[in-house]
Protein backbone atom coordinates (compact mmCIF):
# COMPACT_ATOMS: atom_id res chain seq x y z
CA UNK A 1 0.00 0.00 0.00
CA UNK A 2 2.86 2.32 0.85
CA UNK A 3 4.47 1.74 -2.52
CA UNK A 4 1.36 2.89 -4.32
CA UNK A 5 1.64 6.16 -2.48
CA UNK A 6 5.27 6.78 -3.47
CA UNK A 7 4.39 6.24 -7.11
CA UNK A 8 1.40 8.55 -7.06
CA UNK A 9 3.37 11.29 -5.32
CA UNK A 10 6.03 10.96 -8.00
CA UNK A 11 3.46 11.10 -10.78
CA UNK A 12 1.76 14.13 -9.28
CA UNK A 13 5.13 15.85 -9.01
CA UNK A 14 5.91 15.19 -12.67
CA UNK A 15 2.50 16.46 -13.74
CA UNK A 16 2.93 19.60 -11.64
CA UNK A 17 6.31 20.17 -13.31
CA UNK A 18 4.84 19.62 -16.77
CA UNK A 19 1.94 21.98 -16.25
CA UNK A 20 3.46 24.65 -14.00
CA UNK A 21 4.92 26.76 -16.83
CA UNK A 22 1.70 26.55 -18.83
CA UNK A 23 -0.53 27.57 -15.94
CA UNK A 24 1.97 30.24 -15.00
CA UNK A 25 1.52 31.76 -18.45
CA UNK A 26 -2.26 31.56 -18.26
CA UNK A 27 -2.35 32.97 -14.74
CA UNK A 28 -0.42 36.09 -15.70
CA UNK A 29 -2.50 36.61 -18.83
CA UNK A 30 -5.06 38.13 -16.44
CA UNK A 31 -2.52 40.42 -14.78
CA UNK A 32 -3.13 44.17 -14.75
CA UNK A 33 0.54 44.74 -13.94
CA UNK A 34 1.80 44.16 -17.46
CA UNK A 35 4.62 41.78 -16.51
CA UNK A 36 4.97 38.20 -15.22
CA UNK A 37 6.49 39.14 -11.86
CA UNK A 38 3.75 40.58 -9.66
CA UNK A 39 0.06 39.90 -9.97
CA UNK A 40 -1.54 43.27 -9.27
CA UNK A 41 -5.13 42.70 -10.30
CA UNK A 42 -7.47 40.90 -12.64
CA UNK A 43 -8.14 42.12 -16.16
CA UNK A 44 -9.38 40.92 -19.53
CA UNK A 45 -7.42 43.71 -21.19
CA UNK A 46 -4.78 41.46 -22.81
CA UNK A 47 -7.45 39.32 -24.39
CA UNK A 48 -9.10 42.45 -25.77
CA UNK A 49 -5.74 43.49 -27.22
CA UNK A 50 -5.25 40.03 -28.70
CA UNK A 51 -8.63 39.95 -30.40
CA UNK A 52 -8.20 43.49 -31.71
CA UNK A 53 -4.76 42.69 -33.10
CA UNK A 54 -5.47 42.53 -36.86
CA UNK A 55 -1.98 41.26 -37.68
CA UNK A 56 -2.19 38.47 -35.09
CA UNK A 57 -5.61 37.32 -36.30
CA UNK A 58 -4.37 37.30 -39.90
CA UNK A 59 -1.40 35.18 -38.83
CA UNK A 60 -3.61 32.70 -36.95
CA UNK A 61 -5.79 32.33 -40.04
CA UNK A 62 -2.69 31.89 -42.23
CA UNK A 63 -1.36 29.22 -39.91
CA UNK A 64 -4.63 27.29 -39.92
CA UNK A 65 -4.98 27.56 -43.70
CA UNK A 66 -1.39 26.40 -44.14
CA UNK A 67 -1.94 23.43 -41.82
CA UNK A 68 -5.15 22.43 -43.56
CA UNK A 69 -3.78 22.70 -47.10
CA UNK A 70 -0.46 21.02 -46.36
CA UNK A 71 -2.01 18.14 -44.41
CA UNK A 72 -4.61 17.52 -47.13
CA UNK A 73 -2.01 17.31 -49.88
CA UNK A 74 0.38 15.30 -47.71
CA UNK A 75 -2.39 12.83 -46.84
CA UNK A 76 -3.21 12.33 -50.50
CA UNK A 77 0.39 11.85 -51.61
CA UNK A 78 1.31 9.79 -48.57
CA UNK A 79 -1.67 7.44 -48.86
CA UNK A 80 -0.88 6.61 -52.46
CA UNK A 81 2.76 6.30 -51.48
CA UNK A 82 1.86 3.76 -48.79
CA UNK A 83 -0.33 1.79 -51.20
CA UNK A 84 2.51 1.84 -53.72
CA UNK A 85 5.11 0.70 -51.22
CA UNK A 86 2.90 -2.14 -50.02
CA UNK A 87 2.36 -3.28 -53.61
CA UNK A 88 6.09 -3.73 -54.21
CA UNK A 89 6.91 -7.41 -54.39
CA UNK A 90 10.61 -7.31 -53.56
CA UNK A 91 11.35 -7.00 -49.88
CA UNK A 92 14.54 -5.06 -50.50
CA UNK A 93 12.78 -2.43 -52.61
CA UNK A 94 10.17 -1.98 -49.88
CA UNK A 95 12.77 -1.50 -47.17
CA UNK A 96 14.67 0.96 -49.40
CA UNK A 97 11.47 2.97 -49.75
CA UNK A 98 10.93 2.88 -46.00
CA UNK A 99 14.48 4.02 -45.31
CA UNK A 100 14.10 6.95 -47.71
CA UNK A 101 10.71 7.70 -46.22
CA UNK A 102 12.17 7.88 -42.72
CA UNK A 103 15.04 10.22 -43.56
CA UNK A 104 12.90 13.29 -42.92
CA UNK A 105 11.37 11.68 -39.83
CA UNK A 106 14.69 11.45 -38.05
CA UNK A 107 16.44 14.51 -39.49
CA UNK A 108 16.71 17.45 -37.14
CA UNK A 109 14.54 20.43 -38.10
CA UNK A 110 17.52 22.67 -38.77
CA UNK A 111 18.85 20.25 -41.36
CA UNK A 112 15.47 20.04 -43.08
CA UNK A 113 15.12 23.83 -42.96
CA UNK A 114 18.64 24.54 -44.21
CA UNK A 115 18.58 21.96 -47.00
CA UNK A 116 15.13 23.08 -48.18
CA UNK A 117 16.41 26.66 -48.19
CA UNK A 118 19.27 25.59 -50.47
CA UNK A 119 16.80 23.66 -52.63
CA UNK A 120 14.40 26.58 -53.08
CA UNK A 121 17.23 28.98 -53.82
CA UNK A 122 18.81 26.71 -56.39
CA UNK A 123 15.42 26.14 -58.06
CA UNK A 124 14.76 29.88 -58.04
CA UNK A 125 11.56 29.57 -55.96
CA UNK A 126 10.90 32.78 -54.07
CA UNK A 127 10.41 32.50 -50.32
CA UNK A 128 6.96 33.10 -48.90
CA UNK A 129 3.66 31.29 -48.46
CA UNK A 130 4.44 28.97 -51.38
CA UNK A 131 7.81 27.79 -50.12
CA UNK A 132 6.44 27.31 -46.60
CA UNK A 133 3.47 25.32 -47.92
CA UNK A 134 5.70 23.07 -50.02
CA UNK A 135 8.00 22.50 -47.04
CA UNK A 136 5.11 21.61 -44.75
CA UNK A 137 3.73 19.16 -47.31
CA UNK A 138 7.20 17.66 -47.68
CA UNK A 139 7.86 17.04 -44.00
CA UNK A 140 4.31 15.75 -43.36
CA UNK A 141 4.30 13.07 -46.06
CA UNK A 142 6.48 10.51 -44.22
CA UNK A 143 4.28 10.45 -41.10
CA UNK A 144 1.20 9.86 -43.25
CA UNK A 145 2.96 6.95 -44.94
CA UNK A 146 4.01 5.50 -41.58
CA UNK A 147 0.46 5.65 -40.23
CA UNK A 148 -1.30 4.36 -43.36
CA UNK A 149 1.16 1.58 -44.21
CA UNK A 150 0.36 -0.73 -41.25
CA UNK A 151 -3.32 -0.57 -42.20
CA UNK A 152 -2.51 -1.44 -45.80
CA UNK A 153 -0.37 -4.34 -44.60
CA UNK A 154 -3.22 -5.55 -42.42
CA UNK A 155 -5.41 -5.77 -45.49
CA UNK A 156 -6.07 -9.45 -46.04
CA UNK A 157 -5.42 -10.34 -49.71
CA UNK A 158 -8.38 -12.73 -49.45
CA UNK A 159 -10.57 -9.66 -48.92
CA UNK A 160 -9.56 -8.33 -52.33
CA UNK A 161 -10.07 -11.74 -53.91
CA UNK A 162 -13.48 -11.91 -52.25
CA UNK A 163 -14.44 -8.52 -53.70
CA UNK A 164 -13.35 -9.56 -57.19
CA UNK A 165 -15.06 -12.90 -56.79
CA UNK A 166 -18.28 -11.05 -56.01
CA UNK A 167 -17.94 -9.10 -59.23
CA UNK A 168 -16.28 -5.87 -58.17
CA UNK A 169 -14.15 -4.10 -60.76
CA UNK A 170 -10.66 -3.01 -59.79
CA UNK A 171 -11.89 0.51 -59.18
CA UNK A 172 -14.82 -0.74 -57.08
CA UNK A 173 -12.47 -2.95 -55.09
CA UNK A 174 -10.31 0.08 -54.44
CA UNK A 175 -13.07 2.49 -53.49
CA UNK A 176 -15.35 0.11 -51.60
CA UNK A 177 -12.93 -2.29 -49.92
CA UNK A 178 -9.43 -0.86 -49.72
CA UNK A 179 -10.24 2.76 -48.92
CA UNK A 180 -12.82 2.05 -46.19
CA UNK A 181 -10.46 -0.44 -44.61
CA UNK A 182 -7.48 1.92 -44.42
CA UNK A 183 -9.56 5.00 -43.53
CA UNK A 184 -8.59 4.96 -39.83
CA UNK A 185 -4.93 5.10 -40.89
CA UNK A 186 -5.67 7.93 -43.32
CA UNK A 187 -7.45 9.92 -40.62
CA UNK A 188 -4.69 9.54 -38.07
CA UNK A 189 -2.19 10.42 -40.80
CA UNK A 190 -4.11 13.58 -41.63
CA UNK A 191 -4.42 14.47 -37.97
CA UNK A 192 -0.69 14.03 -37.33
CA UNK A 193 0.20 16.00 -40.46
CA UNK A 194 -2.07 18.80 -39.25
CA UNK A 195 -0.39 18.94 -35.84
CA UNK A 196 3.08 18.71 -37.39
CA UNK A 197 2.28 21.75 -39.47
CA UNK A 198 0.79 23.73 -36.56
CA UNK A 199 3.72 22.85 -34.35
CA UNK A 200 6.55 23.59 -36.71
CA UNK A 201 8.81 26.51 -36.11
CA UNK A 202 12.33 25.67 -37.25
CA UNK A 203 11.66 24.64 -40.84
CA UNK A 204 9.28 27.53 -41.41
CA UNK A 205 11.79 29.92 -39.90
CA UNK A 206 14.35 28.91 -42.52
CA UNK A 207 12.17 28.95 -45.62
CA UNK A 208 9.85 31.89 -44.93
CA UNK A 209 10.79 35.21 -46.37
CA UNK A 210 10.01 38.56 -44.83
CA UNK A 211 6.43 38.82 -46.00
CA UNK A 212 4.91 35.69 -44.50
CA UNK A 213 4.80 34.58 -40.87
CA UNK A 214 3.18 31.68 -39.07
CA UNK A 215 2.11 31.85 -35.46
CA UNK A 216 5.29 30.16 -34.25
CA UNK A 217 7.52 32.57 -36.16
CA UNK A 218 5.53 35.52 -34.85
CA UNK A 219 5.77 34.30 -31.24
CA UNK A 220 9.50 33.84 -31.66
CA UNK A 221 10.09 37.36 -32.86
CA UNK A 222 7.83 38.87 -30.18
CA UNK A 223 9.36 36.72 -27.43
CA UNK A 224 12.82 37.92 -28.41
CA UNK A 225 11.66 41.46 -27.77
CA UNK A 226 10.64 40.57 -24.22
CA UNK A 227 7.47 39.99 -22.26
CA UNK A 228 4.13 40.95 -23.71
CA UNK A 229 1.05 39.68 -21.92
CA UNK A 230 -0.75 39.48 -25.25
CA UNK A 231 1.32 36.34 -25.85
CA UNK A 232 0.13 35.02 -22.49
CA UNK A 233 -3.44 35.56 -23.56
CA UNK A 234 -2.67 33.78 -26.83
CA UNK A 235 -1.20 30.78 -25.04
CA UNK A 236 -4.25 30.59 -22.79
CA UNK A 237 -6.50 30.52 -25.85
CA UNK A 238 -4.33 27.87 -27.51
CA UNK A 239 -4.21 25.78 -24.35
CA UNK A 240 -8.00 25.79 -24.08
CA UNK A 241 -8.18 24.86 -27.77
CA UNK A 242 -5.78 21.92 -27.28
CA UNK A 243 -7.58 20.88 -24.09
CA UNK A 244 -10.96 20.80 -25.84
CA UNK A 245 -9.48 18.68 -28.62
CA UNK A 246 -7.82 16.25 -26.20
CA UNK A 247 -10.82 15.90 -23.90
CA UNK A 248 -13.12 15.54 -26.89
CA UNK A 249 -10.86 12.87 -28.32
CA UNK A 250 -10.79 11.07 -24.97
CA UNK A 251 -14.56 10.97 -24.64
CA UNK A 252 -15.12 9.90 -28.24
CA UNK A 253 -12.59 7.16 -27.66
CA UNK A 254 -14.21 6.06 -24.38
CA UNK A 255 -17.65 6.21 -25.96
CA UNK A 256 -16.73 4.07 -28.94
CA UNK A 257 -14.91 1.69 -26.62
CA UNK A 258 -17.92 1.14 -24.37
CA UNK A 259 -20.13 0.82 -27.44
CA UNK A 260 -17.84 -1.82 -28.83
CA UNK A 261 -17.86 -3.53 -25.47
CA UNK A 262 -21.65 -3.41 -25.30
CA UNK A 263 -21.95 -4.76 -28.78
CA UNK A 264 -19.65 -7.62 -27.87
CA UNK A 265 -21.69 -8.43 -24.79
CA UNK A 266 -24.88 -8.37 -26.78
CA UNK A 267 -23.39 -10.62 -29.39
CA UNK A 268 -22.47 -13.01 -26.64
CA UNK A 269 -26.03 -12.96 -25.44
CA UNK A 270 -27.18 -13.60 -28.97
CA UNK A 271 -28.75 -10.21 -29.51
CA UNK A 272 -27.97 -8.47 -32.77
CA UNK A 273 -27.48 -4.76 -32.91
CA UNK A 274 -27.96 -3.27 -36.36
Amino acid sequence: MKKVKVSSIYLILVFVLLYAPIFYLIFFSFNQGGDMNQFTGFTWEHYATLFADQRMIQIVLNTLLLALLSSLVATLVGTFGALGIAARKQKRLRSTFLTLNNVLMVSPDVIIGASFLILFTSLGISLGFGSVLISHIAFSIPIVVLLVLPKVNELDPALLNAAQDLGATRWQTFSRVIVPFITPGIFSGFFMAFTYSLDDFAVTFFVTGNGFATLAVEIYSRARQGISLEINALSAVMFVFALVLVVGYYFIDQYSRTRRQKRKNHQKAGVMIP
Binding site: P21, P108, V110
Partner: protein
Protein backbone atom coordinates in the same frame (compact mmCIF):
# COMPACT_ATOMS: atom_id res chain seq x y z
CA UNK B 1 -4.23 -1.84 -62.12
CA UNK B 2 -0.47 -2.21 -61.84
CA UNK B 3 0.02 0.73 -64.16
CA UNK B 4 -2.66 2.92 -62.65
CA UNK B 5 -1.33 2.26 -59.17
CA UNK B 6 2.17 3.19 -60.27
CA UNK B 7 0.73 6.33 -61.81
CA UNK B 8 -0.80 7.38 -58.51
CA UNK B 9 2.51 6.78 -56.82
CA UNK B 10 4.29 9.31 -59.04
CA UNK B 11 3.84 12.29 -56.65
CA UNK B 12 5.35 10.24 -53.86
CA UNK B 13 8.34 9.30 -56.00
CA UNK B 14 8.77 12.94 -57.00
CA UNK B 15 8.67 13.82 -53.31
CA UNK B 16 11.42 11.30 -52.53
CA UNK B 17 13.60 12.61 -55.33
CA UNK B 18 13.02 16.28 -54.64
CA UNK B 19 12.72 16.49 -50.87
CA UNK B 20 14.67 13.51 -49.58
CA UNK B 21 17.51 12.79 -51.96
CA UNK B 22 18.07 16.21 -53.52
CA UNK B 23 18.37 18.12 -50.19
CA UNK B 24 20.92 15.61 -48.87
CA UNK B 25 22.99 15.96 -52.03
CA UNK B 26 22.60 19.74 -52.02
CA UNK B 27 23.75 20.15 -48.43
CA UNK B 28 26.77 17.94 -49.13
CA UNK B 29 27.50 19.87 -52.33
CA UNK B 30 27.12 23.22 -50.56
CA UNK B 31 29.54 22.13 -47.85
CA UNK B 32 32.14 21.48 -50.55
CA UNK B 33 31.93 24.94 -52.14
CA UNK B 34 33.03 28.38 -51.07
CA UNK B 35 31.07 31.64 -51.38
CA UNK B 36 32.13 31.93 -55.05
CA UNK B 37 30.65 28.50 -55.82
CA UNK B 38 34.01 26.84 -56.39
CA UNK B 39 34.80 23.33 -55.21
CA UNK B 40 36.89 23.32 -52.04
CA UNK B 41 37.58 21.32 -48.90
CA UNK B 42 38.33 24.55 -47.05
CA UNK B 43 35.15 24.41 -44.94
CA UNK B 44 36.09 21.02 -43.52
CA UNK B 45 39.66 22.14 -42.94
CA UNK B 46 38.42 25.22 -41.09
CA UNK B 47 36.04 23.15 -39.05
CA UNK B 48 38.66 20.53 -38.19
CA UNK B 49 41.35 23.02 -37.20
CA UNK B 50 39.29 25.62 -35.40
CA UNK B 51 39.12 25.18 -31.67
CA UNK B 52 35.89 27.24 -31.58
CA UNK B 53 34.05 24.80 -33.83
CA UNK B 54 35.42 21.71 -32.14
CA UNK B 55 34.64 23.04 -28.69
CA UNK B 56 31.15 24.00 -29.81
CA UNK B 57 30.63 20.48 -31.20
CA UNK B 58 31.82 18.82 -28.01
CA UNK B 59 29.66 21.21 -25.96
CA UNK B 60 26.63 20.52 -28.06
CA UNK B 61 27.21 16.80 -27.76
CA UNK B 62 27.71 17.09 -24.01
CA UNK B 63 24.52 19.12 -23.54
CA UNK B 64 22.52 16.70 -25.64
CA UNK B 65 23.89 13.86 -23.52
CA UNK B 66 22.95 15.67 -20.29
CA UNK B 67 19.46 16.51 -21.55
CA UNK B 68 18.95 12.88 -22.61
CA UNK B 69 20.18 11.57 -19.26
CA UNK B 70 18.02 13.97 -17.24
CA UNK B 71 14.87 13.24 -19.25
CA UNK B 72 15.54 9.50 -19.06
CA UNK B 73 15.95 9.60 -15.28
CA UNK B 74 12.69 11.47 -14.88
CA UNK B 75 10.75 9.67 -17.60
CA UNK B 76 11.42 6.01 -16.86
CA UNK B 77 9.80 6.02 -13.41
CA UNK B 78 7.01 8.21 -14.76
CA UNK B 79 6.27 5.80 -17.58
CA UNK B 80 6.52 2.86 -15.21
CA UNK B 81 4.15 4.29 -12.62
CA UNK B 82 1.86 5.51 -15.37
CA UNK B 83 1.48 1.96 -16.68
CA UNK B 84 0.20 0.92 -13.25
CA UNK B 85 -2.52 3.55 -12.94
CA UNK B 86 -6.18 3.24 -13.66
CA UNK B 87 -7.52 5.50 -16.42
CA UNK B 88 -4.21 5.25 -18.24
CA UNK B 89 -5.68 6.75 -21.41
CA UNK B 90 -6.54 9.95 -19.55
CA UNK B 91 -3.11 10.29 -17.91
CA UNK B 92 -1.45 9.58 -21.22
CA UNK B 93 -3.42 12.34 -22.89
CA UNK B 94 -2.37 14.65 -20.08
CA UNK B 95 1.26 13.81 -20.88
CA UNK B 96 0.66 14.47 -24.58
CA UNK B 97 -1.30 17.69 -24.04
CA UNK B 98 1.76 19.88 -23.26
CA UNK B 99 3.37 18.77 -26.51
CA UNK B 100 0.47 20.44 -28.32
CA UNK B 101 1.41 23.78 -26.83
CA UNK B 102 3.92 25.35 -29.19
CA UNK B 103 7.38 24.93 -27.74
CA UNK B 104 8.07 28.61 -28.21
CA UNK B 105 5.26 29.42 -25.82
CA UNK B 106 6.75 27.07 -23.27
CA UNK B 107 10.17 28.66 -23.73
CA UNK B 108 8.50 32.04 -23.36
CA UNK B 109 7.00 30.92 -20.02
CA UNK B 110 10.50 30.24 -18.75
CA UNK B 111 11.62 33.72 -19.75
CA UNK B 112 9.09 34.99 -17.22
CA UNK B 113 9.82 32.34 -14.61
CA UNK B 114 13.60 32.68 -14.68
CA UNK B 115 14.02 36.43 -15.25
CA UNK B 116 15.95 38.62 -12.84
CA UNK B 117 12.84 39.66 -10.93
CA UNK B 118 10.81 36.62 -11.96
CA UNK B 119 8.96 34.09 -9.85
CA UNK B 120 11.86 31.73 -9.23
CA UNK B 121 14.11 34.53 -8.09
CA UNK B 122 11.33 35.89 -5.87
CA UNK B 123 11.21 32.47 -4.28
CA UNK B 124 15.00 32.31 -3.92
CA UNK B 125 14.96 35.72 -2.23
CA UNK B 126 12.12 34.59 0.02
CA UNK B 127 14.07 31.56 1.30
CA UNK B 128 17.11 33.76 1.78
CA UNK B 129 19.33 32.58 -1.05
CA UNK B 130 18.97 35.87 -2.87
CA UNK B 131 18.39 36.47 -6.57
CA UNK B 132 20.60 34.68 -9.07
CA UNK B 133 21.28 35.07 -12.77
CA UNK B 134 19.18 32.21 -14.11
CA UNK B 135 18.19 33.25 -17.58
CA UNK B 136 20.80 33.12 -20.36
CA UNK B 137 22.87 30.48 -18.59
CA UNK B 138 23.80 26.96 -19.59
CA UNK B 139 21.66 25.75 -16.73
CA UNK B 140 18.55 27.47 -18.06
CA UNK B 141 19.15 25.92 -21.48
CA UNK B 142 19.43 22.46 -19.94
CA UNK B 143 16.33 22.99 -17.83
CA UNK B 144 14.09 24.24 -20.61
CA UNK B 145 15.33 21.72 -23.18
CA UNK B 146 14.78 18.84 -20.74
CA UNK B 147 11.35 20.17 -19.87
CA UNK B 148 10.36 20.26 -23.52
CA UNK B 149 11.73 16.80 -24.32
CA UNK B 150 10.29 14.89 -21.33
CA UNK B 151 7.00 13.81 -23.00
CA UNK B 152 8.95 12.52 -26.01
CA UNK B 153 10.95 10.29 -23.70
CA UNK B 154 7.96 9.12 -21.63
CA UNK B 155 5.83 7.97 -24.56
CA UNK B 156 8.12 5.35 -26.18
CA UNK B 157 9.12 3.97 -22.77
CA UNK B 158 5.48 3.77 -21.73
CA UNK B 159 4.64 1.95 -24.95
CA UNK B 160 7.39 -0.58 -24.32
CA UNK B 161 6.24 -1.13 -20.74
CA UNK B 162 2.59 -1.72 -21.58
CA UNK B 163 3.61 -4.17 -24.30
CA UNK B 164 5.37 -6.21 -21.66
CA UNK B 165 3.41 -9.40 -20.98
CA UNK B 166 2.34 -9.22 -17.30
CA UNK B 167 2.70 -13.01 -17.14
CA UNK B 168 6.47 -12.51 -17.45
CA UNK B 169 6.48 -10.47 -14.24
CA UNK B 170 4.41 -13.13 -12.51
CA UNK B 171 6.75 -15.79 -13.90
CA UNK B 172 9.73 -13.97 -12.47
CA UNK B 173 8.13 -13.61 -9.05
CA UNK B 174 6.98 -17.22 -9.21
CA UNK B 175 10.58 -18.32 -9.74
CA UNK B 176 11.63 -16.48 -6.60
CA UNK B 177 12.70 -13.03 -7.81
CA UNK B 178 12.16 -10.04 -5.54
CA UNK B 179 10.62 -6.87 -6.97
CA UNK B 180 14.05 -5.38 -7.54
CA UNK B 181 15.38 -8.54 -9.20
CA UNK B 182 12.28 -8.69 -11.39
CA UNK B 183 12.93 -5.13 -12.47
CA UNK B 184 16.64 -5.50 -13.23
CA UNK B 185 16.46 -8.95 -14.81
CA UNK B 186 13.14 -8.87 -16.64
CA UNK B 187 11.36 -5.52 -16.86
CA UNK B 188 14.28 -3.26 -17.75
CA UNK B 189 15.95 -5.58 -20.30
CA UNK B 190 12.60 -6.07 -22.01
CA UNK B 191 11.79 -2.36 -22.18
CA UNK B 192 15.23 -1.29 -23.34
CA UNK B 193 13.82 -0.89 -26.87
CA UNK B 194 11.56 1.88 -25.57
CA UNK B 195 14.50 3.53 -23.85
CA UNK B 196 16.48 3.43 -27.08
CA UNK B 197 13.57 4.89 -29.04
CA UNK B 198 13.28 7.62 -26.42
CA UNK B 199 16.99 8.40 -26.65
CA UNK B 200 16.66 8.67 -30.43
CA UNK B 201 13.68 10.98 -30.06
CA UNK B 202 15.45 13.27 -27.59
CA UNK B 203 19.16 13.24 -28.38
CA UNK B 204 19.11 14.39 -32.01
CA UNK B 205 16.70 17.30 -31.48
CA UNK B 206 18.74 18.35 -28.45
CA UNK B 207 21.72 18.88 -30.76
CA UNK B 208 19.72 21.26 -32.87
CA UNK B 209 17.37 23.25 -30.63
CA UNK B 210 18.54 26.65 -31.84
CA UNK B 211 15.46 28.62 -30.79
CA UNK B 212 15.88 27.60 -27.13
CA UNK B 213 19.49 28.70 -27.12
CA UNK B 214 18.42 31.98 -28.70
CA UNK B 215 15.58 32.68 -26.28
CA UNK B 216 16.87 31.11 -23.06
CA UNK B 217 20.54 30.35 -23.54
CA UNK B 218 21.42 33.99 -24.05
CA UNK B 219 22.01 34.26 -27.77
CA UNK B 220 25.30 32.40 -27.52
CA UNK B 221 26.19 29.80 -30.10
CA UNK B 222 26.31 26.71 -27.93
CA UNK B 223 24.76 23.99 -30.08
CA UNK B 224 25.29 22.73 -33.61
CA UNK B 225 21.75 23.85 -34.43
CA UNK B 226 22.46 27.42 -33.40
CA UNK B 227 25.64 27.42 -35.45
CA UNK B 228 23.80 26.23 -38.54
CA UNK B 229 21.06 28.80 -38.10
CA UNK B 230 23.63 31.55 -37.61
CA UNK B 231 25.60 30.62 -40.73
CA UNK B 232 22.51 30.32 -42.90
CA UNK B 233 20.42 33.25 -41.72
CA UNK B 234 22.83 35.75 -40.14
CA UNK B 235 26.36 35.53 -41.57
CA UNK B 236 25.12 34.00 -44.85
CA UNK B 237 28.03 31.56 -44.97
CA UNK B 238 26.04 28.63 -46.36
CA UNK B 239 29.13 26.57 -47.09
CA UNK B 240 30.22 26.52 -43.47
CA UNK B 241 26.63 26.06 -42.29
CA UNK B 242 26.29 23.03 -44.57
CA UNK B 243 29.56 21.61 -43.27
CA UNK B 244 28.25 21.74 -39.72
CA UNK B 245 25.02 20.26 -41.06
CA UNK B 246 26.94 17.32 -42.52
CA UNK B 247 28.65 16.83 -39.15
CA UNK B 248 25.23 16.80 -37.50
CA UNK B 249 23.93 14.26 -40.02
CA UNK B 250 26.94 12.03 -39.40
CA UNK B 251 26.34 12.26 -35.64
CA UNK B 252 22.73 11.37 -36.25
CA UNK B 253 23.70 8.23 -38.16
CA UNK B 254 26.14 7.20 -35.44
CA UNK B 255 23.43 7.66 -32.84
CA UNK B 256 20.95 5.63 -34.86
CA UNK B 257 23.46 2.83 -35.37
CA UNK B 258 24.18 2.74 -31.64
CA UNK B 259 20.55 2.62 -30.57
CA UNK B 260 19.14 0.46 -33.32
CA UNK B 261 17.47 -2.62 -31.98
CA UNK B 262 18.23 -5.63 -34.10
CA UNK B 263 15.67 -7.85 -32.46
CA UNK B 264 12.99 -5.25 -32.79
CA UNK B 265 13.83 -4.81 -36.46
CA UNK B 266 13.24 -8.48 -36.96
CA UNK B 267 9.79 -8.23 -35.44
CA UNK B 268 8.90 -5.21 -37.52
CA UNK B 269 9.71 -7.02 -40.72
CA UNK B 270 7.35 -9.85 -39.87
CA UNK B 271 4.00 -8.23 -40.75
CA UNK B 272 5.38 -7.26 -44.14
CA UNK B 273 6.45 -10.79 -44.81
CA UNK B 274 2.99 -11.95 -43.87
CA UNK B 275 1.34 -9.65 -46.39
CA UNK B 276 3.56 -11.05 -49.04
CA UNK B 277 2.28 -14.59 -48.61
Amino acid sequence: MKKTRSFFMVPYLVWIALFVIAPLILILYQSLTNNQGQFTLQNYVTYGTSWTYLKMTINSFWYALLITAVTLLISYPTAYFLSKTKRQQLWLLLIILPTWINLLLKAYAFIGLLSRSGTVNQFLTFIGVGPKQLLFTDFSFLLVASYIEIPFMILPIYNAIVQLDPALINASRDLGATNLQTFTKVVFPLTISGVKAGIQAVFIPSLSLFMITRLIGGNRVITLGTAIEEHFLTTMNWGMGSTIGVVLIVMMFIMMALTNDRKKKRQEVLPNEKSEG
